[in-house]
């Protein structure tokens, strides 16, 4: 991959949690191409969340080098924070504030102000079907509405790279459809996305590149077609996943 096409470059990323001799991430090497929807998949405890938390600056790696958008994770975290957006698995919203107030706070912290901030909020709320509830407190929202607002809060400031940690967990079909449709649309405008999910059909339909990790190591990577070809006669990502990670229960 040409260096100018690389959005995220990870070299030998390793993470040991304190008091644990088994690495959560074991010398991970991978590159994310600009404009990709990069699916990071794996069973529970595979190391997905650890990796996302390291890339977002919430956790320090034990070793390895990471550059995001050309900035070093070790030395230029402040620059990285300006170009990334994060949609966490938790509904990270202030429930006593309205949808508009939440977006105003998060957008403002990310550097949007005045009319630009208002315009972005007014643009995105209708896209995600929340314009009629813009001035209602989040505590009165349904799970799907909260999830959609959670997504808007992460992409309001038009980040170059968007981290999505299970963005559709626990939502109904309609909300899920709205979220996925709009993620494709946002990706078409050039935003690179790193996406984790347990819904493999979602990943199959959405991601342009997939990496499956287990026990802190990459076990396969490539486009969906490349992975299917490599693993033989499987007809779905679910079958590939179960073949590679085994069928035993994970906690």
């Amino acid at each position: 991959m040409n260096e100018s096409d690389v959005s995220i470059d990870i070299k030998d990323l390793t993470k040991y949690y304190k008091g644990n001799h088994i690495p959560a991430l074991d010398h991970i090497r991978l590159q994310v191409r600009k404009g990709d929807i990069f699916g990071l998949l794996g069973p529970n405890g595979a190391g997905k969340t650890t990796m996302i938390r390291i890339l977002c600056g919430l956790l320090s790696p034990t070793e390895g080098e990471v550059t995001i958008g050309g900035y070093s994770l070790k030395n230029e975290m402040a620059d990285i924070r300006r170009i990334i957006g994060v949609v966490p698995q938790d509904i990270a919203l202030y429930s006593s504030l309205t949808a508009r107030e939440n977006l105003s706070v998060y957008g403002g912290i990310c550097g949007l102000k005045g009319r630009i901030l208002k315009r972005r909020i007014d643009e995105l709320l209708p896209i995600f079907g929340l314009d009629k509830n813009a001035d209602r407190r989040v505590e009165h929202f349904s799970g799907g509405m909260k999830r959609r607002l959670n997504l808007i809060a992460g992409l309001l400031h038009m980040p170059r790279i968007l981290f999505l940690d299970e963005p559709t967990v626990g939502v109904d079909v309609h909300s899920k459809n709205v979220i996925l449709e709009n993620l494709r649309e946002i990706n078409r405008s050039g935003t690179t996305m790193i996406y984790t999910s347990h819904y493999l059909e979602e990943a199959e339909n959405l991601c342009s590149y997939i990496t499956i990790i287990d026990e802190g190591r990459i076990i396969t990577r490539g486009t969906l077609t490349e992975i299917m070809d490599r693993t033989g006669s499987h007809t779905s990502l679910v079958e590939v996943f179960l073949t590679l990670t085994g069928k035993t229960l994970r906690d």
Partner: protein, 424 residues
Amino acid sequence: MQAFLKLIYKDALVMVRDRGGLAMLFIMPLALVLIMTSLQDTTFRSINESGIRLLLLNNDIDSLGLSVEKEMMKSSLFRIYTDIDNKKPTEQEVKEAVAVGKFQIGVIIPSGATRHIRDKVSRNVEMALSGRQPVPERKDSVFLLVYLDPTTKTSFREILQRSIREFTSEIESRLILQEITREINEVLAVPVPDLSLVQEEAVFYREEYATLDDSGTIPNSVQHNVPAWTVFAMFFIVIPFAGAMIREREDGSLDRLLTMPASYAKILLSKILVFLVICYLQFVLILLMGIYFFPVVNLPALQTGSNLGMLSLMTLATAFAAIGYGIAVGTITRTHQQASIFASISVVILAALGGVWVPVFIMPAFLRQMSIVSPLNWALNGFYDILIRDAAFSGILPGFISLCLFSLACLALALGYKRIKRDS
């Protein structure tokens, strides 16, 4: 700066939207200060106004018994009773009446008490005038029997002992002078008048409160209690503050903020500013209550003197220390339960050590030494310096600096702990 202003806006909005919580933050401290001050004031007044119920059985119908009875009757501290249901009690009845709580104290002056003293004094004076040393004989001593209700405070008992000792020594000295007069008159041709009748007090005393200026502020229950309970109430901000931090951490908002251009220090600082304003408003409300509402409920009005600037500074330093403690608790504890239990109990301990419940000077030596580590002690002394002692700014400076340093130390602890957690 834009990010910081948005953080302040967010914290203020979250606070304002929680109307119930906000009301508690103002109403509870006001209620605490009002109730505790009233309680202390009325307790003090009730002792003075209604007096301690004392049952006196005077079996010595002579100088000592009559004098003790007369002096006790004059005392505003005791309400003296000499009978039960219009009947003079027996010694056993006195004991029973005190035991069942009808009276707090029972005093029995034995029969012949004055005669015993007179005989002893006469013998001692005679021996002294003849050049021999008086030898105290225990069988000559007079025992006043005092029964105490088990619930009677030690301080009452001490007051009673002091009063009785004062009355009896007065009688003793009068008898000594009478005896000396008698002895002299036996020797001299021209009789001298009874010396006990010309007894005059040689030493007088004048009582004044020591202050560093002449502002004339009179210490009373309000001047003592308002600062004490205000400091105590202000430190309870630790619980909502730590709660706000834990809530933000649990719902993932903190993590989201940390992925944005907002450092942890900025996130904390915005909260500090919002809670400082709340603490300051709490104090202003308590002050206004002390000045304007206390007289309405028959309490002395709080006197703030002319040191409002110093009062504001000490309030901010106290609030800063309380919030710093809240940051440390909110960072280190994991759940709301942990935070609220630890915060409330530790604040009560720090308050007890700091002299909020009982003055530090009457504590045992080891607790007195421990009290210097309590930020509530620094705050309380600072407020006493301003409100009671009328100290200058240099007087409150050590406490002011200590409170600020305590808060900064808590902040450093929280930031350090956060860094360790990130690296672990």
